[in-house]
């Protein structure tokens, strides 16, 4: 019962702050709302029983990605933009597309999974994850590390001031 209340609070915080992150007007507020929403997603991982991924989420998403976005917003010089008129036709198309996607998958999930409960599942612990990651999925793991390296170098080359 108590854990249900906590679950609903986390669920609502994620949804409300995700909506704020999309619809607020100033980018710095959007970035902070996204940070709060993503921080609560780590709570969802705890509810599912994936503690390592929750820690990873807090470290990488909240600690690195959000901070990088906020950093870039704060580094850019201030510009005074007047709120622009959005093209209402494009807004309509965007909202209809997203709602169609939502409706279709909602019907699918509702028909297939409404009322499904998790059984007595023992999640793979971090030991197994590490073993599989270093043996069966060693090649994708190495490719990901090369991608990260290339991303770092690419960001430096892109942001370098040309003389």
């Amino acid at each position: 019962m108590f854990s249900d209340v906590i679950f609903i609070i986390f669920w609502l915080v994620i949804v409300v702050f995700a909506a704020l992150a999309v619809f607020l007007q100033k980018p710095i507020y959007n970035a902070f709302s996204m940070a709060i929403s993503i921080f609560s997603v780590a709570g969802m991982y705890i509810f599912l029983g994936y503690e390592f991924l929750a820690a990873l989420q807090v470290l990488v998403y909240v600690g690195a990605i959000s901070v990088a976005i906020i950093f870039v917003i704060m580094l850019s010089p201030p510009v005074t933009v007047k709120p622009k008129k959005l093209n209402p036709f494009k807004v309509l198309i965007g909202i209809v597309t997203a709602l169609t996607f939502f409706g279709l998958f909602f019907i699918l999930f509702y028909q297939k999974y409404a009322g499904s409960k998790f059984g007595n599942v023992v999640n793979a612990n971090i030991n197994e994850v590490g073993t599989v990651l270093a043996t069966k999925y060693a090649v994708p793991f190495e490719i990901i590390s090369v991608i990260l390296l290339v991303a770092i170098l690419g960001a430096i080359v892109l942001a370098k001031k040309e003389d």
Binding site: S3, D4, F7, W11, I14, V15, A18, A21, V22, P27, N30, M34, S37, I38, V41, M44, L48, Y50, L53, L56, V60, Y61, I65, A68, I69, V72, I73, L75, S76, V79, K84, K90, G94, I95, T97, A98, F101, F102, F109, Y110, Y113, G115, S116, K117, F118, V121, A124, E128, V129, V132, L133, I144, I147, L148, V150, A151, A155, I156, L158, A159
Partner: protein
């Protein structure tokens, strides 16, 4: 509530749809990047919930989620570098105004 599957799927669906609306409607490049992060988080929740529900004790969902986190970090790095470059060059990060590549 926390023991049933459907709330997690609904949450991931809401996050993906909100991100989709943001990518399609908002024209600020940084906000579009934020929306991409929301979509990736929704995908992670979906993967992990269905992994727990259907594949008993498999490590596959966690490995995919780790890959998603790493790719999101790489993508954010590149995107922020590009946004910074565009801002310095055009003094503008409105996606509607960046028409030079449109032909």
């Amino acid at each position: 509530m926390a023991g049933s599957l459907f709330p997690y799927l609904l949450l991931s669906l809401i996050l993906i749809s909100l991100g989709l609306i943001g990518i399609l409607v908002r024209r600020n490049l940084i906000i579009m990047l934020i929306c991409i992060e929301l979509v990736l988080n929704g995908v992670s929740i979906n993967l992990l919930a269905l992994n727990k529900f259907s594949v008993n004790g498999s490590a596959m969902g966690q490995i995919l989620a780790i890959f998603i986190v790493a790719l999101a970090a790489a993508e954010t790095t590149i995107a922020l570098g590009l946004i910074f470059l565009i801002f310095r060059h055009y003094k503008e990060i409105d996606a509607e105004k960046l028409t030079e590549l449109k032909g």
